[in-house]
């Protein structure tokens, strides 16, 4: 990162905070957020809440949704679109934001990064949207980032990703790599006594960076060993060779960050090769398989694997029960909800909270109001926006079951601090 926007945050400020205090404050806030605030548009004249010419009228505010509806990424991004629309509907049902109903303009990034940049520019320049919910892959985010910074847009980005970025124009509602990785590795090392790891991934930046962090943590903090690291091209469907290697190296843990269609091939072939994940020899630990992916893989083919992320559909807290119910009501009973889908759902809500705190739709004011925003209603539980635009969140480990759901077997006691530029891991 290169401009002043991406200077490393002052870490002492946030790490010094008493986490228990944060939690306590959160619970109190939960109650207040459940009450729809009856903010009337009349209390907030358009001229005052919108001084930069955004698409805000006396009774509506327009935002953008920018995901791939076509192309290879449509598989993954569909859930995010659905969650964002659900959140918008719910917000509108509660009276909207500052008395204004949210309208959205949806654009298709078509799994093509230049198209993402083009559509982002269209949303910001032509449509003057007040904020954008969008992107999924890092590549698409990197493509739109200069556009958002140039035209001062505001993006809510839902995916867990590799970190190494912190833009004043992006709120990262998914976990950055250290949040997602370290807790899981600690857990597998402590409870399962894992000593040897085999790192595997699709060949692009997120798996590579994540495995880099994992390797540092395994070698420097856990005192364990990495016995293999391997990458396959995106879309690769033949994993017999790497499965053979794994069998020879006999690692305690296969740490898999395979994505997309490769995922399906990998787990099917792993099972067919006689590696029964339920026997935990070796343990399969992944950070890339959400409930969404399991639909393609087939629950019976991944049963027994562990996934490490911040959200699972099976979470039993009240917020989540309500969220799952509404999601299924809106999109059908056969829907499943994965980590990213939930993170996408947070986007409109976080924006709403920030706008209301700022009392304005102006991006600069919303940005200023954003750090410290808390959301007690999040399906994953309480979250809070860090100064570095990422979320404090808990990390959980789930055990995959044959029905395609995860049993949550572990969750961090406290919120994990986001640290997009982790020292000692680079």
């Amino acid at each position: 990162m290169t401009d002043e926007s991406s200077k490393k945050p002052n870490q002492s400020q946030s790490t010094g905070m008493n986490r228990r205090a944060v939690l306590a404050g959160g619970t109190a806030l939960t109650a207040s957020l459940f009450m729809p605030k009856n903010l009337m548009a009349a209390d907030y004249p358009t001229a005052e809440v919108n001084t930069t010419g955004l698409a805000v009228t006396d009774d509506t505010v327009t935002i953008g949704i920018l995901h791939s509806i076509t192309g290879t990424m449509a598989i993954s991004e569909t859930g995010s679109v659905q969650a964002e629309k659900l959140a918008i509907d719910q917000i509108n049902a509660q009276g909207g934001i500052l008395g204004r109903k949210i309208e959205y303009i949806q654009e298709d990034g078509a799994s093509d990064w230049p198209t993402f940049a083009e559509k982002a520019k269209k949303l910001l320049v032509n449509d003057k949207v007040a904020s954008v919910m969008g992107c999924w892959t890092s590549a698409s985010r990197k493509a739109v980032l200069p556009v958002f910074e140039q035209y001062n847009g505001f993006l809510y980005y839902p995916t867990f990703y590799e970190g190494l970025e912190q833009s004043p124009n992006v709120i990262y509602t998914g976990q950055e790599a250290t949040q997602q990785i370290i807790a899981g590795l600690d857990w597998v090392s402590e409870t399962k006594g894992a000593k040897t790891f085999y790192l595997l991934g699709s060949d692009y930046i997120w798996p590579r960076t994540s495995n880099k962090i994992a390797r540092k943590h395994i070698e420097n903090f856990l005192g364990a060993k990495v016995v293999g690291e391997e990458y396959y091209p995106l879309g690769h469907t033949q994993f017999n060779s790497v499965i053979n290697k794994i069998r020879l190296k006999k690692p305690d843990v296969i740490y898999a960050i395979v994505v997309g269609g490769s995922n399906v091939a990998f787990y099917k072939q792993l099972k067919a090769a006689g590696i029964d994940m339920t026997k935990e020899d070796p343990i399969v630990l992944t950070i890339s398989v959400t409930e969404d992916e399991i639909r393609g893989i087939g629950g019976e083919n991944i049963e027994g694997a562990y996934a490490c992320m911040k959200y699972f559909q099976s979470l039993t807290n009240e917020n989540n029960m309500e969220f799952v119910k509404s999601f299924k009501e809106m999109w059908g009973d056969d829907m499943v909800i994965g980590d990213v889908t939930q993170a996408a759902y947070l986007g409109p809500w976080l924006w709403k909270a920030a706008v209301e705190k700022a009392g304005s739709f102006d991006v600069d004011k919303v940005r200023a109001a954003t750090p410290g925003i808390e959301l007690g209603t999040a399906p994953e539980g309480y979250v809070k926006v860090h100064d570095n635009h990422h979320l404090w969140s808990k990390t959980r480990v789930g055990l995959a079951k044959a029905d395609g759901q995860y049993d949550v077997v572990y969750e961090t006691a406290e919120l994990v601090e986001p640290d997009p530029f982790p020292e000692g891991y680079q």
Partner: protein, 373 residues
């Protein structure tokens, strides 16, 4: 003798109309965002013009033009990235002064082959020469051994696949799947502002015309007629004493050079370069631009690139879930119903009627040429 003059009257009209469209009409009716979009479409037109020569005239169908587009674009992006990665801008990195993605991948020094890209003249040379050298190597290997037609198409397609995997896999050197992003200035001139984009649009237009003139010169030279001759009767050309391979290599390299320039202009106008522009899908789409415009026509190729991309954008804005159906249908329709594309519709349907109207005493043999032919 119409074929001996560089610009028959119909072609002059065609060039003039296109110049009016690009330099006057589009800037007049489009806002700066849309104009920038059309600038992007026009970068594909460079590729399409090259394809009109290679494929339309010479019968060489390359499904790997994205490779050359990408190479040109990456050369430009490397220069811009180095300029953006000043030690001050990258102070927070472990190794300041190198591109951010290198730092993320634990590179501690700039690879040697990045060094020359500090120089703009070298970069401009590389934008043209890297694709040309690459095309030359492929061309020599294939055409000297008389690989042609379908085989050539499939092998070039494989090159597109190989280069994509390589770029993605070597992310420390290439930026991987993200590409090279966040490009800011060209010799201190901020290319992200609206004014800069407008200027780049015109630069792009001028370069496109330079390329079109070069293409027209080739088409109207004996070499142009040889290409057509080769396409129809390769053996006869050989037995008229021509080394067919060297002509194919030449035209393939020329197409690659055009594509490289297009790629560089793409990088400048869009602000990044990524492997999605190198792969199989964009390479085939570039062929489609050419086919829709009319594979025999260099001007048609430009219109093809504009029309297809404009349709793609419009379709995907209004019917995001259906635009693939429209696009697929367009391909099939063009191939089945209008094999000579827009230029064919013009020269077979519209132009003859126009000519009849305008000049009744023109000799039909010379009057049939459409601007787009």
């Amino acid at each position: 003798m119409k074929t001996n003059t560089l610009f028959p009257r119909a072609d002059i009209i065609g060039f003039a109309v296109l110049a009016v469209v690009i330099f006057l009409l589009l800037p007049a009716v489009l806002d700066s965002f849309r104009l920038n979009l059309f600038g992007k479409y026009l970068t594909y037109a460079f590729v399409a013009v090259g394809l009109a020569l290679c494929w339309g005239a010479g019968g060489i169908l390359s499904l790997g033009q994205g490779v050359f587009f990408g190479l040109g674009g990456y050369c430009m992006a490397m220069f811009l990235k180095l300029e953006a990665s000043t030690p001050e801008n990258t102070a927070i990195q472990s190794t300041p002064g190198i591109p951010d993605f290198m730092d993320w991948n634990q590179l501690t020094a700039l690879p040697w082959w990045w060094e020359p890209f500090y120089s703009l003249p070298f970069t401009i040379l590389a934008v043209v020469m890297v694709p040309v050298v690459f095309a030359f190597v492929i061309g020599v290997a294939m055409f000297k051994r008389r690989v042609g037609g379908v085989y050539f198409a499939i092998i070039t397609q494989a090159f597109a696949a190989i280069l994509t995997i390589l770029i993605i896999g070597q992310q420390g050197f290439t930026g991987g799947v993200n590409g090279i992003t966040d490009l800011r200035t060209l010799w201190g001139w901020d290319i992200r502002t609206d004014e800069a984009k407008e200027i780049l649009y015109y630069v792009n237009g001028v370069l496109l015309f330079a390329v079109l003139f070069a293409a027209q010169f080739v088409r109207k030279s004996k070499l142009g007629r040889l290409l057509i001759a080769m396409r129809d009767q390769e053996d006869r050309v050989r037995f008229s004493g021509y080394d067919v391979a060297s002509f194919k290599i030449f035209i393939f390299c020329l197409g690659a050079a055009f594509a490289g320039i297009g790629g560089a202009m793409f990088t400048l106008q869009v602000g990044f370069m990524s492997p999605t522009l190198v792969g199989i899908v964009p390479s085939i789409e570039m062929v489609i631009f050419c086919a829709v415009g009319g594979r025999l026509s260099i001007l048609g190729a430009v219109y093809g690139a504009l029309v297809v991309n404009w349709a793609k954008t419009t379709f995907s804005e209004s019917f995001p879930e259906l635009w693939l159906l429209g696009l697929g249908g367009l391909f099939i329709a063009v191939v089945m119903l209008f094999p000579n594309g827009l230029a064919g519709i013009w020269s077979e349907q519209i132009a003859p009627r126009l000519t009849k109207l305008i000049s009744k005493n023109t000799n039909p043999a010379t009057g049939q040429g459409a601007p787009a032919e």
